[in-house]
Amino acid sequence: MFSINKALGILPNASEHGQAVDHLLELCHWFMAILFVGWSCYFLYTIFRFHKSRNPKASYHGVQSKASAHLEFTVVLVEAVLLLGFGLPLWGKRVTGDQFPAEADAVRVRAVGEQFAWNFHYAGADGVFGRVHTSFLSGSNPLGLDPSDPAGQDDVVSKNDLHLITGKPTVIDLTSKDVIHSFSLQHMRMCQDAIPGSKIPMWFRPIRGGEYEIVCAQLCGAGHYAMRAMMKVETQAEFDTWMKEQASLKPAAPAAVPAATEPAAH
């Protein structure tokens, strides 16, 4: 079927709830198109028909019918349907606690924005995130992992490289070190600000494998335009291999590097 979204060049959707989002957007676009085309026909006809050369004497009373009231009523009705039938339920599903994936069966990632990169933090094999504190921050320890915390020993840290598993719900806890960034996963139809001082979770379920660009959707300084990260949605097996690889790549202990030697990536 003809889709306005597609005609306008929408990005392919890769998440479960994204289908509902696209559907709503499609409905909006149809509504807008019908209104616009309808009005345009009227408009073009009117300015042709009532040009002073064709209609030298204006009518004092103009439109007499109740058409406008009906039209406005229809607009209200359609908007109410869009809102009550689609918009609010969709949002309700996204943000009520009972939809929130259980910790056990979700991929959990911490994402920390900084000028101008995204740091990702996986809990590793033990499933427990190591303690982080700003006093441990350094160029080689961009998350400030506490080297003395045993839970942190197996944690996996990556820069600008997010790996997720097809079909598995994902929870990303967002925060930022310096200014507000916004973690925009366009293909997942998700966007959430990373605000320093706050930790805000976002969740979705990727349903299509592939490599996607992650955009920073909030002006964050001179390097904002280049704060690009990649998201790989892959199978469980691929994901596990990547995790193992990362774990083995890791330098022995982040604390080996003295704090604050090199500044964070600029």
Partner: protein, 130 residues
């Protein structure tokens, strides 16, 4: 109330014009006592505010933030008197009241909606403020 006498007629520009307010004198004299009374009340209420702030209402009623609520109630009463008597809102023209109504409506909105930000975060959000 003070303008009751000059309905309609315009003062001619620039002329030293004395509207016939003579009859109003007793009217204002009457109010002098009122003004002093309200002033006295406000002073007493200030003392009461101070005193109330040293009473532990949270312990008395249980819960949280009672002292703030009570202090704000007292302050609102005081402000009510200032508005009604000193700013003669009592008996003020409808138009002024209309301005006030919707101004207060919008401040209330400003307060409530910023508050909601804390009372209704997305699950799991935390704000580390210090």
């Amino acid at each position: 109330m003070s303008q009751a006498h000059d309905h309609g007629k315009e003062i001619t520009p620039g002329t030293a014009h004395e509207p016939a307010t003579g009859g109003d004198h007793p009217h204002f004299d009457m109010h002098l006592g009122l003004y002093l009374g309200v002033g006295g009340f406000l002073l007493v209420a200030t003392a009461v505010t101070v005193w109330l702030s040293y009473v532990d209402f949270d312990k008395m009623f249980g819960g949280h933030g009672w002292n703030i609520i009570i202090a704000m109630i007292v302050a609102t009463v005081k402000v009510g008197f200032v508005g009604a008597i000193f700013m003669h809102l009592k008996g003020e023209k409808k138009l002024v009241w209309q301005f006030l109504y919707f101004t207060l409506f919008f401040v209330a909105g400003l307060f409530l909606l910023t508050l909601l930000n804390y009372s209704d975060p997305i699950f799991g959000t935390s704000h580390a403020h210090h």
